[in-house]
């Protein structure tokens, strides 16, 4: 017998398992207060899952609000939907809009790497689809423990196969991402996924249930017992204890989230079916089902609308007939969507679903009142004000404070670390760094992703940004890059966030696109740790300040807390995705030197900035000091120069400098097409010139006769410019220091990941 509303009103004092569901006592009391009685089991399930950290953002909300103070305009147009929607949407001109968002699926990917990563891609794609857009590309910023750690050999291949298995099967080109290794991610891999979608302005859809009498249709996969309780558990404080407990066979009841299995084929049908439904203009509101499943979709749709909603849970198609109503409400079965449809369009809606072999069922309707009511076997099991479930969850002002250790970390600089001296030592350092996990070739990963499907990938990995053609006639396109540097963020979270922002911004500009907006995924340890909360708060401040100075909005994002093993949190890891717009994709710039005999220039200044660098990490296993100094005004002017230059077809190549500094950029630009380079560092300290990670720098190559144009543009933009040398031959030569054959560099650069994976049998 289900626990009905009537029953609840009669048995006010019946004890309830609110603590097991992750609620705090005061939260439970608030639910009783809202309802004026105890919640039914189904209501308790809904509140607990919707008020979890993952769904309610209860620890981050007060900070994230600051994003709302930023401009809601981009440099090229309006934001058509912003934070709070499934994903932000921006006007990119010519009647087109673009939506993009990054999300995390960290914990599930640790438990079951393949399915965790696969369903992570599936989830973000549905968010994009729900805005009315056709998903057109994905990017996957990934972070793992050390490359040679045994668990990395389990997690990495599974995650990569999962990202590829799902994304490839959907026909979405993968056009970028990151692969980063650090010991802090050993028990907490970060699997973030970004999806980009394109729509016409008039196709924008919002998640709201309006118009009494309109019908609520659930369509897509049948509902099973997948991930029941997943949402509250996966992002709650119990995760660590639970997974440790079950792994070692100790401890109480295993609270490990039951794993969700993805069906990308179903999702592909869901995409095509949904787009056809949009084109027929027969939906008045739509929502994807992600975390918290039906609990989330019904309460969010209803609270965004102008009335209430009534649902008959008996109508929900089940894969497992033994599920209880609260389990149905919490199930996170994948590949489902919910639409609100006017009665006269229902038949056509169902016909389109049938064409695509997609199961669709009317499960309820929009009502006049302001309640969300749900029936089961003829009795009411849920009767709540939907807003209280979806939006009026708890909000915490978590204590935060700058950790005492921060001064120590910053004081522990790199000046005392021995540096290589002379050509031979420098050359040896180059070979060592290119063969380090964070700088080496990532094609073992990226070759498992389809980057060609749909025929619009103008740039993809290993370029600095992915670029997609949107309109084949005008050449309008967008570029996207994601970046994050947890090491810099550890040294100074405020600066670290801005450095990640600046890097992604620069990567987009390097491709020739004008950066216009960001999305972000904030991966942190426990919000209950004041040190972590301070890192978080500084990060948000950093992003807000950075975006304000660059004049671009935050369109949305995601927060992932509790990424920690025991007491040890991961490096604070804000991943920033920047979107750019380019009027004509044929003007794109790519990273590789194209032909011999071209002039090579460095834009931006180099300082002695090696704290947090790859060199300090690889050679000295050192992390301390202060990160590079950032000048956002310079970044803006640099971007302007790059976009302008690209528009005139000035550059043969352009590549931003980031991890590994100048030498790494030269290595990558040379290896791309096998065209070497000879550079003269002048009077600069060669070690600093080659390995410093000063920000705001780009290497460009161009034909000799166009150098005056570059100088003129650089002067106008007040960007320092310095000639480095000339392209050619199959060597990388630093005059007066060393000459390395590209073949030798390439061999060292390509080896690490294949070797590590082969050793583990992959």
């Amino acid at each position: 017998m289900a626990d009905t509303v009537k029953n609840a009103a009669r048995t006010l004092d019946q004890p309830q398992p609110w603590a097991e569901l992750g609620l705090k006592e005061d939260e439970y009391l608030r639910i009783r207060d809202i309802l004026g009685r105890r919640p039914t089991a189904a209501e308790l399930a809904m509140y607990s899952v919707m008020w979890s950290e993952h769904c309610s953002y209860k620890s981050s909300k007060v900070h994230l609000r600051k994003f709302g103070e930023l401009t809601q305009e981009t440099p090229v147009g309006k934001m058509l939907a912003g934070i709070g929607e499934n994903a932000g949407v921006i006007d990119v001109g010519q009647g087109y809009a673009v939506t993009f968002k990054v999300e995390s699926h960290n914990h599930p990917s640790y438990v079951e790497p393949y399915q965790g990563a696969a369903t992570g891609v599936g989830g973000i794609v549905r968010d994009i689809l729900a805005m009315g857009a056709r998903p057109v590309a994905v990017l996957d910023p990934l972070r793992f423990g050390p490359l040679d750690a045994p668990d990395t050999a389990r997690v990495l291949p599974g995650v990569v196969a999962g990202v590829g298995g799902y994304g490839n099967c959907l026909g979405l080109p993968n056009v970028g991402g990151e692969v980063v290794f650090d010991p802090s991610y050993a028990g907490n891999p970060l699997v973030n996924a970004l999806c980009v979608g394109v729509l016409r302005h008039e196709d924008l859809h919002l998640a709201k249930a309006t118009g009494a009498g309109n019908l609520v249709i659930l369509y897509g996969a049948a509902t099973g017992g997948d991930g029941i309780g997943g949402v509250s558990v996966l992002a709650s404080e119990t995760f660590d204890a639970a997974s440790d407990g079950s792994a070692s066979g100790l401890g109480g009841p295993a609270k490990r989230p039951s794993v969700q299995v993805g069906d990308p084929f179903m999702e592909k049908l869901l995409i095509e079916c949904t787009l056809e439904i949009f084109a027929a203009r027969i939906v008045s509101g739509i929502q994807d089902l992600g975390g918290a499943g039906l609990s989330c979709a019904t309460s969010e749709l209803a609270s965004a609308g102008d009335g209430g909603m009534h649902v008959n849970l008996d109508q929900v198609p089940l894969r497992d007939s033994t599920l209880s109503p609260e389990e149905i409400l919490m199930s996170e079965s994948q590949e489902r969507m919910m639409a609100v449809v006017e009665p006269e369009h229902v038949e056509q809606f169902l016909r389109i679903c049938a064409k695509w072999d997609v199961l669709a069922t009317v499960i309820g309707e929009v009502t006049d009142g302001d309640r969300l009511t749900i029936d089961w076997h003829g009795e009411t099991v849920v009767d709540v004000p939907p807003r209280t479930v979806a939006h009026d969850g708890p909000v915490y002002q978590r204590p935060y404070a700058r950790p005492a250790r921060q001064d120590r970390i910053q004081a522990d600089g790199v000046d005392v670390l021995p540096r290589p001296v002379g050509g031979e030592e420098l050359a040896a350092t180059v070979l060592r760094l290119v063969a380090s996990p964070n700088l080496c070739d990532k094609s073992w990963v990226t070759d498992q992703y389809d980057r060609y499907v749909r025929g619009n990938s103008v740039l993809a990995q290993p370029e600095d940004a992915g670029m997609l053609r949107i309109d084949p006639d005008t050449g309008l396109g967008v570029a996207v890059s994601t970046d994050g540097n947890g090491r810099f963020a550890y040294l100074d979270p405020y600066a670290g966030a801005q450095l990640s922002l600046a890097e992604a911004y620069r990567n987009v500009a390097v491709s020739g696109a004008q950066p216009v907006a960001i999305t972000d995924c904030l991966n942190f340890g426990s919000p209950e740790d004041p040190d972590v909360m301070w890192q978080f708060s500084e990060t948000v401040e950093g992003l807000v300040g950075g975006c304000r100075e660059l004049g671009i909005p935050v369109t949305g994002g995601n927060v992932s807390f509790y990424n920690q093993t025991g007491e040890t949190a991961i490096l604070p890891t804000p991943v920033v995705g920047v979107l750019g717009v380019i009027d004509d994709v044929s003007h794109r710039t790519s990273v590789g030197f194209r032909r011999a005999g071209e002039e090579v220039f460095l834009l931006g200044d180099t300082r002695d900035e090696l704290a947090g660098s790859v060199w300090a990490d690889v050679v000295h296993a050192h992390l301390g000091g202060r990160p590079p100094v950032l000048d956002l005004d310079h970044e803006r002017r640099l971007a302007e120069l790059l976009v302008r230059g690209a528009g005139r077809g000035l550059f043969s190549s352009a590549h931003d400098l980031a991890d590994g500094g100048l030498i790494q950029a030269l290595v990558e630009a040379s290896l791309r097409h096998g065209v070497g380079v000879r550079v003269d560092l002048g009077v600069a300290d060669p070690f600093v010139a080659l390995f410093s990670e000063s920000t705001g720098r780009v290497v460009v190559s161009l034909p000799a006769d166009r150098v005056p144009e570059l100088i003129e543009l650089a002067e106008a933009a007040r960007v320092p410019v310095r000639r480095l040398g000339v392209t050619g031959d199959d060597v990388l030569e630093v005059e007066g220091q060393f000459t390395l054959p590209l073949s030798e560099i390439r061999a060292a650069w390509q080896a690490p990941i294949p070797a590590a994976m082969a050793a583990a049998g992959h």
Partner: protein, 225 residues
Amino acid sequence: MAPRIGVVTFPGSLDDHDALRAVGLCGAEPVSLWHGSDSVAGVDAVILPGGFSYGDYLRCGAIAAFAPVMTEVIAAAEAGMPVLGICNGFQVLCEAQLLPGALIRNERQTFVCRDQRLRVASVDTAWTSALTLGQEITLVLKNGEGRYVADADTLDRLEGEGRVVFRYLDNPNGSLSDIAGVCNRRGNVVGLMPHPEHNVEALTSPSLDGRALFESVLDFLTARV
């Protein structure tokens, strides 16, 4: 009037879109065909595109081989109409037994996406006449199950009859005899794992070598008229 070339969309087809574009760019009229239809709408040639029809569940191409439209495609192929199977389409043609052999999991167990060098091994087909024998070309390759296998007799027969159409230059998946594509006895039905439809535009492709396949069939169709 330009020849009409149909591209079948199965549930889970992905490169249908690209194949239609390639057909148009190369001068034919693209026609979209639906898997559930029982006609091929009077087209002059058919392409079975890449993708993951039915999720590639069971075996790649196995379920799609039984789609209603395939009855017509098989009949037309047997009557001499040019049919090209690309990647998943090649797998469908093998499962439908229009082409011999089968495609199994890559030797290196992972999906592989790369720019693949190939050698043209036969120009006596409806889809390769615009290429030259022995020519080296580069096409996009992307699949998880692209390893061509057949029993020894079948391989001998294919070699003897000159029915190997493309060979890999650096075999990416362990295909027997480096086979990347084969044809039927008549040469009107060709299947290959690489994706010529991704190599038709400079903006998005590492080469334009894919065009020759579409130009070949245009020659074939216009010559016949």
